[in-house]
Point group: C2
Chain length 246, copies 2
Amino acid sequence: MISNRDSKFIKSLQLKKFRQLENQFVVEGAKNVLELIQSELKIISLFATANFIEKHEIELANCQASVNEVKEAELKKVGSFVNNNAVLAVVEMPTVQSLDASKSVLAFDRIKDPGNLGTVIRIADWYGFDQIVCSSESVDCFNPKVISATMGSFTRVKVHYASLSDILPKYNHTYGTTLQGDNIHEIHFEEPAIIVFGNESQGLDDALKPLIKQEVFIPGYGDAESLNVAISTAVFCDNFRRLLKR
Amino acid sequence: MISNRDSKFIKSLQLKKFRQLENQFVVEGAKNVLELIQSELKIISLFATANFIEKHEIELANCQASVNEVKEAELKKVGSFVNNNAVLAVVEMPTVQSLDASKSVLAFDRIKDPGNLGTVIRIADWYGFDQIVCSSESVDCFNPKVISATMGSFTRVKVHYASLSDILPKYNHTYGTTLQGDNIHEIHFEEPAIIVFGNESQGLDDALKPLIKQEVFIPGYGDAESLNVAISTAVFCDNFRRLLKR
């Protein structure tokens, strides 16, 4: 059973204010929690259904926190999602080291949608970026919808928050996606690079453009006006890895 | 004002059963409705706030249906979304011609998430595919969440529903994304092609694999286990257009 006290505490962590105050966040869903157990993140408490505990006995043996058996209806009550209520963990926020400018990084200018941020974290992980940086006005990476969309990649990709105009000058190779840039299929990328993606509806902030040496364009062949930021990120990363000068 | 009768009717169209019965569907949000007005689709009725009508006077002059001025709160009541309640149109479903096998097509095996289907329709439009085909068990393309995620591309991309095992033999060039395929960066694609993407959690149906001549793999460089189907679609299309033998 989840006590009233725990229940209230878990629900409070849906808000950024309380996550920051407590330095903790919530991870929900089988895929995310199973990746969490294998990671170095510190689990404070874990709640799971009898069914989940039976099915994942071996993986749960590696869990450093005690496992509390609870009913699915209880998890649904404290969780953020209608489905996928088999397991939930309360986790200590990792200490974020400063950005490592010797490695390439994906940068997001005012990314607002939690699903988008979660998806780009998963894409960063697929394409071998272990750090991303978001401008300070961006959505919080410990938002439950962000964690959910990462499909476990939140355990491997560090998210930094900073002013992009402070970060960009630290890199020699600076790229940004715009509608006026050079064709991405013909670029000789170099590392370590910072690659900046603009806001979902407004694109790249004009104030950042002078700090970006190469603007890059993803060629379209039809009539759609734009691509979603997560889609642009994936297409960019695929070309970046393919075209990287070695 | 939206009459009780209209209100009830519009709400009923949130369900596939009633959309099919009435042969009508609902389009919400500024971007989608503005693209709709410019398209050949037949608008039955249109409801908009005074603010929207004033802002888009020129575009609305091209609307073949009469424009009903309504309050935002009324639109919110009958619509499917919490935000973006400035305009809503009831539209006649287009007659879908049979698939044109002289042109390339993207095919989706049991695509279930409406956001994913909407996003792949937008991607198809960007990459110049004006038709896609979904296996019969897939989510309905007139679902409000699908329409919303297309960002207007539903007006240009035709969605067919069929058994993929019936459709695949119509094409000489058949590609599918799997984890065991050849590296997508090194393929000489040929047209007209059919490109099959597997279900969100189960991948490609084993029964379809014998019908696919070339399995293709999107190389990863990190530790994420998979990519979301919309992300795979975008990366595939970008490489397909780039590598197409002409």
